[in-house]
């Protein structure tokens, strides 16, 4: 019996990006005005102005096979093509070239609670969502009690879900999806929602589904720990191409060594082993706090952020320093700061364990995404490993005062400190 359940051959997907249009959609009006315009300017420009359209290959020549019962983690930075791949495998969108052969029923969970209707009750939504995911009513009826128990919403079954807390909503939605019985389960980063305890429960359920029932699972996540604990194999995508396809820990290692970008959900302590080792220096952990709460990826700019870098030095180092680059997502540095900059001289550091703490003041960051990159080095001598540093993606939400003009919208810039202006008539 052939054990290959998914075969992907030369798969590519191309999106056409129109630069001109700012709107998300075309309207017939635009198309007609453009045609009319062009009709009066023979030869000058064709209807498809090449400068305004650009091809973007979200996936390029993917080839791989997945065996029955495999649990495969798909890793890659944002925009590497993970979601596009899942969308093609779930038949939501079609590829531009190539071919995929799938032997079995696919259920995909690309979003939690797809199709939930806020006006309907929990009970009704279970049936609705189940049908959307491809279950029959009979199947749902059999699983109904299990779903309700898993979601812990017994008391609210007949309440419209618009009155649910967001936690209940997510629990119910995941519970429905987790009780499907497809041969292949495709899961996009859906576990980023919900509290830690529930995430654990979901992971446990997924593990259960694949290990005990022999299902094939494809799982996209930025949560390396979840990937490590759930998956056996990994596929690492860069720019729409397969970079590595291997055992999961090998794949994660190659991902971390190439990008060193962590999701702040990850507990660094278990992952720093994947980093290149250094004779003098060992990073232990990096923690973010806001309002004395640990934060994971999302912060507000109206409040201070405290960051703690924990590390160990095995030798006496004169002039060792930790520094932080706050970069925009493209990689330009917004600002850089050293842990010895206030003292104005080198710190001579004895062997031992240390924590370097820094505070990012309130009302400084713009409401965009940043990469917080931590680097370590001995002044004027060398950078310690990991040489490229370690990055965290941090999304900033606007709550502080800032440079808004008129309409309460953030305007522009990599940082937005509130500045004092004075306007005077000088006639």
């Amino acid at each position: 019996m052939s054990d290959t359940i998914i075969t992907v051959e030369n798969l590519s997907k191309c999106y056409i990006i129109a630069h001109e249009e700012r709107e998300r959609y075309t309207s017939l009006r635009d198309v007609m005005t453009r045609r009319v315009k062009n009709a009066f300017s023979f030869g000058k420009s064709s209807y498809k102005n090449p400068s305004s359209q650009e091809e973007f290959w979200a996936l390029k020549d993917l080839n791989f096979e997945i065996k029955r019962g495999d649990r495969v983690g798909i890793i890659g930075r944002n925009g590497a093509g993970k979601s596009t791949l899942l969308k093609i495998l779930s038949r939501i969108t079609e590829p531009t070239t190539g071919r995929v052969t799938i032997d079995g029923r696919v259920a995909s969970l690309l979003e939690v609670g797809t199709g939930f209707h806020p006006e309907l009750t929990g009970r009704e939504n279970i049936f609705l969502n189940g049908a959307i995911l491809g279950m029959s009513r009979a199947e749902i009826r059999v699983k109904f009690d299990e779903i309700v128990a898993f979601a812990e919403v017994e008391k609210f079954l007949d309440t419209p879900v618009k009155r649910y807390s967001s936690g209940m909503y997510v629990r119910l939605a995941f519970a429905v999806a987790a009780h499907m019985e497809p041969e292949i389960l495709i899961v996009d980063e859906v576990l980023a929602v919900g509290d830690a305890q529930f995430q654990k429960k979901c992971l446990g359920k997924m593990e259960d589904v694949s290990r005990n029932e022999g299902r094939t699972v494809l799982f996209v996540s930025h949560n390396m720990q979840a990937l490590l604990s759930l998956c056996k194999k990994g596929i690492y995508l860069i720019g729409g191409k397969v970079e590595t396809i291997d055992e999961i820990n090998q794949t994660i290692n190659s991902y971390l060594s190439q990008s060193n970008t962590f999701n702040s959900h990850d507990d660094l302590t278990s992952l720093t082993t994947a980093l290149k080792s250094d004779e003098d220096f060992k990073l232990k952990n990096i923690l973010f706090y806001q309002d004395s709460q640990r934060i994971f990826g999302n912060v507000v700019n109206g409040k201070e952020i405290q960051i703690e870098v924990h590390y160990e030095l095995s030798n006496k180092l004169n002039g060792f320093r930790v520094f932080l680059d706050v970069c925009d997502p493209i990689g330009s540095i917004a600002f850089r700061s050293f842990h010895d900059e206030e003292t104005g001289r080198h710190l001579d550091m004895e062997p031992g364990r240390y924590v370097s703490k820094v505070t990012i003041p309130a009302d400084l960051l713009a409401p965009i995404s940043y990469d917080f990159r931590f680097l370590f080095g001995i002044h004027n001598i060398r950078m310690t490993q990991p040489e490229e540093g370690i990055s965290f993606r941090i999304n900033v939400e606007q709550t502080g005062k800032y440079n808004e003009a008129y309409n309460g919208q953030y305007t522009a810039g990599m940082i937005c400190p509130p500045l004092k202006w004075e306007v005077k008539s000088i006639n």
Binding site: T26, E94, D103, L120, F127, A131, L133
Partner: protein, 273 residues
């Protein structure tokens, strides 16, 4: 070897599309049920609205066409009943058309996150109009009691013409909803079609008043055949056969064009929506 083998390729028209449609029939039931439930849950007026609207229009049309314009009714049935017998299929068609046309955009989150034959969405949205139709139909029965009018047994053939109206709305709706995904301003065409359609369809008057030489052309409007059919069933008006067959032909044509265009563009819905 495996019956569940799925092959994904660009431009591949799946042979098992219609089988898939059948497999996903549960989804069709449940989406229709959702639309109906939500519609009548949110608005107490929902039910009343499906009575008030045709009733008011019927009263106005009866006054305008019968009293002011002094048009007659060939079968001798009360004018109000004749207007209502035309209003029923027309309202049904208009509602179904607008529901179907906006259905894909309204369910954008489903389209971009889950696979199923997309045709289920416009198809299930039409069912709500069928319920509205049933409610309005009760009103017709009430009017018959009021006017003490006994319809012909041919009224039992009514479902055939309901199906025709359904097919007409579905065909045009499929086409427009698919266009709507790409060109969002297409939805503004619907109120226009509905408004114009009300006047070029024999709702307020009998189609027998249309001059003989134009009648064949007139029947290019598929709803002419449907409305005539309704009046033939309910009022025993004489049926203009050639016109009726032209209307049937037009409905089939629209349906064919709608299905073909929908199938052609279906694969890119998730990218464009």
């Amino acid at each position: 070897m495996n019956t569940n083998r799925i092959i994904i390729e660009p431009g591949r028209t799946e042979q098992n599309y219609w089988r898939d449609l059948w497999l996903f029939r549960e989804l069709f039931y449940i989406l229709s049920w959702r639309d109906i439930k939500v519609r009548y849950k949110q608005t107490v007026i929902g039910t009343a609205w499906s009575i008030i609207r045709p009733l008011l229009t019927t009263i106005i049309f009866t006054i305008v066409f019968s009293r002011v314009a002094k048009l007659g009714e060939p079968s001798g049935a009360p004018y109000a009943i004749m207007v209502f017998a035309g209003m029923l299929p027309w309202q049904f068609f208009a509602n179904a058309l607008s529901e179907a046309s906006n259905s894909l955009i309204g369910n954008a989150n489903l389209v971009s996150k889950v696979y199923f034959p997309r045709m289920i969405i416009p198809a299930s949205s039409i069912i709500t109009s069928l319920v509205d139709f049933a409610i309005s139909f009760l009103l017709l029965l009430a009017m018959m009691v009021f006017y003490q009018y006994v319809p012909d047994v041919k009224i039992l053939l009514l479902p055939v013409f309901i199906l025709m109206a359904l097919a007409a709305a579905f065909g045009v709706g499929l086409y427009i909803t698919a266009l709507n995904v790409k060109y969002r301003d297409f939805r503004y065409i619907i109120p226009f079609i509905v408004q114009i359609g009300l006047y070029i369809t024999p709702v307020g008057f009998s189609s027998s008043l249309v001059p003989e030489k134009w009648r064949l052309w007139y029947s290019l409007n598929p709803m002419v055949g449907v409305v005539d059919g309704f009046r033939w069933c309910i009022l025993d008006e004489p049926m203009y056969r050639p016109g009726f067959f032209i209307s049937v032909f037009m409905i089939v044509l629209f349906l064919w064009v709608g299905v073909v265009y929908f199938r052609k563009t279906e694969k890119s819905f998730a990218d464009n929506i």
